[in-house]
């Protein structure tokens, strides 16, 4: 995916993997089952409101807590096209890249974008445009190695392509 556009869901600091996908649903690995409960403990309206392409914007340390890949999987399977945050917890960051969920670190975007704004993102340049307010921000670009994993749409494809 080279670009994304959608409506923003906004959250604060330290959104943890237990609220992204509560452990009571971890007895399944089914992506659409997981999506049905995404963000349930922090925002019970999320699953009924989210549309394909929508964007999550949050403050610092998004995805802290457990290593469950079910968290980025649930977000991706809900249709979310990108997560923008001031910072990400490191396992969540890694997992997102590995499964091909685009994520961008950008403090300014997190400070300025409001819930309900329509935002577009160009992944090649890292340019984030808030189409509602007209403001633009530049997110941190990925190092080339990680960009290759993302371009291959995940770690497994990347490893396969090397062999």
């Amino acid at each position: 995916m080279k670009a994304a556009k959608g409506t923003v869901f906004k959250y604060g600091d330290n959104v943890d993997t237990d609220v992204i996908i509560p452990a009571r649903y971890l007895n399944t690995t089914d992506h659409s089952e997981l999506a049905k409960h995404c963000m349930e403990d922090i925002d019970k309206d999320f699953t009924s409101k989210v549309k394909a392409g929508d964007i999550i914007v949050a403050d610092k340390n998004f995805g802290c807590g457990s290593s469950r890949e079910h968290a980025p999987i649930a977000i991706k399977a809900s249709g979310v096209s990108c997560v923008i945050a001031k910072s990400f917890a490191r396992i969540f960051y890694r997992n997102s890249i590995n499964i091909g969920l685009p994520i961008i670190e950008c403090e300014e975007a997190a400070d300025n974008i409001k819930a309900g704004d329509v935002v577009s993102i160009d992944f090649d340049t890292g340019l984030i445009t808030d189409e509602t307010s007209g403001k633009t921000f530049t997110g941190q670009a990925f190092p080339p190695f990680m960009q290759k994993i993302i371009d291959s749409e995940g770690l497994i494809n990347y490893i396969n392509s090397k062999e």
Partner: protein
Amino acid sequence: MSRMTMTQKILAAHAGLSEVKAGQLIEADLDLVLGNDITSPVAIKEMEKFTKEGVFNKDKIALVPDHFVPNKDIKSAENCKCVREFAKRNSITNYFEVGKMGIEHALLPESGLTLPGDLIIGADSHTCTYGALGAFSTGIGSTDMAAGMATGKAWFKVPSAIKFNIVGKPSKWVSGKDVILHIIGMIGVDGALYKSMEFVGEGIRNLSMDDRFTIANMAIEAGGKNGIFPVDDIALTYINEHAKGKKYTVYEADPDAEYDEEYTIDLSKLTPTVAFPHLPENTHTFDDIDDIKIDQVVIGSCTNGRIDDLRIAAEVLTDHHIAEGMRCIVIPATQKIYMQAMEEGLLKTFIEAGAIVSTPTCGPCLGGYMGVLASGERCVSTTNRNFVGRMGAIDSEIYLASPAVAAASAVTGKISQPSELGL
């Protein structure tokens, strides 16, 4: 002259490099790849997408069903079946069935599978526990686990480090849990984001192996990539007992290694510490804790389900009974610890005090089963996370504390320290 931290030295050695620098991306060889009953099924599904079949080394993979085991429902039974069949198909040496199993981060060190200088990844965030033995170990997700099992390699960004200089000797009821809660309260839940936490100094000789496991275990709760201790006599004694005859390499940080920050922690100044809902950084000491009534106490988990923890809890509970209406759940972390607790008479003490004792499982720690909380209920727990809904209903509350505080609280029915029982 190299100026590497202990973590950087281990990473360099496993990447075949003489030196690495913070921020550098490397590919490194793995000594062990770990997964549990929640994360392995996702990884096993991913494995099918590889063009190359099989695992890189059947002896260097550990599969530990522990979260919902013995299975709590049909779906978790299916997950365990998936892991069991994968282990069989690939002749995985270190697969731990019910009866042999325990909570992964207590089980692997005890089984001699985590050694100084090893590079270990695990699809579980508390994989950082093995840093207590001088290994580099870190949590990753299921896709990394799949790639690790297939190729024996993983990519890493070399972390910078924070140095915690530990000095002094802790007082009677202060343990590893208080040390790490104090640190997280001080630096915050993202205070060590992407970084290593290196614990050094003369004070570490006053910390038992079980204290160190607790401290390294919760490095992730400060956002850390890993937590690590130097390998001293106490660690060597543990290793000789549990991993007799196995080869390992002890790494030391260079004397002039660079650290982003340095802190001194004086153990003699610490007092029992409790993390209030809903973040491990919301720490309080008893000078500012009012009467907080509780409904349940959990003593167990990969953080505090080891023999030292059970001994401390039993010492507090001896000649006491838990409060009216209280539920106190004790979960030894492994079969071996369970047996040891039985032989030492600790289980008898727990049961006489009105607690229940469970077979090893993660169970209530992640709101799985064996002690899930109803709405509005409060629990003092020796686990590591007090996030919203972690142990049950979204308006239940978890207070993280040491086994000493948990046991004392079970007796009084409110958050208490052992001194309130005259101990």
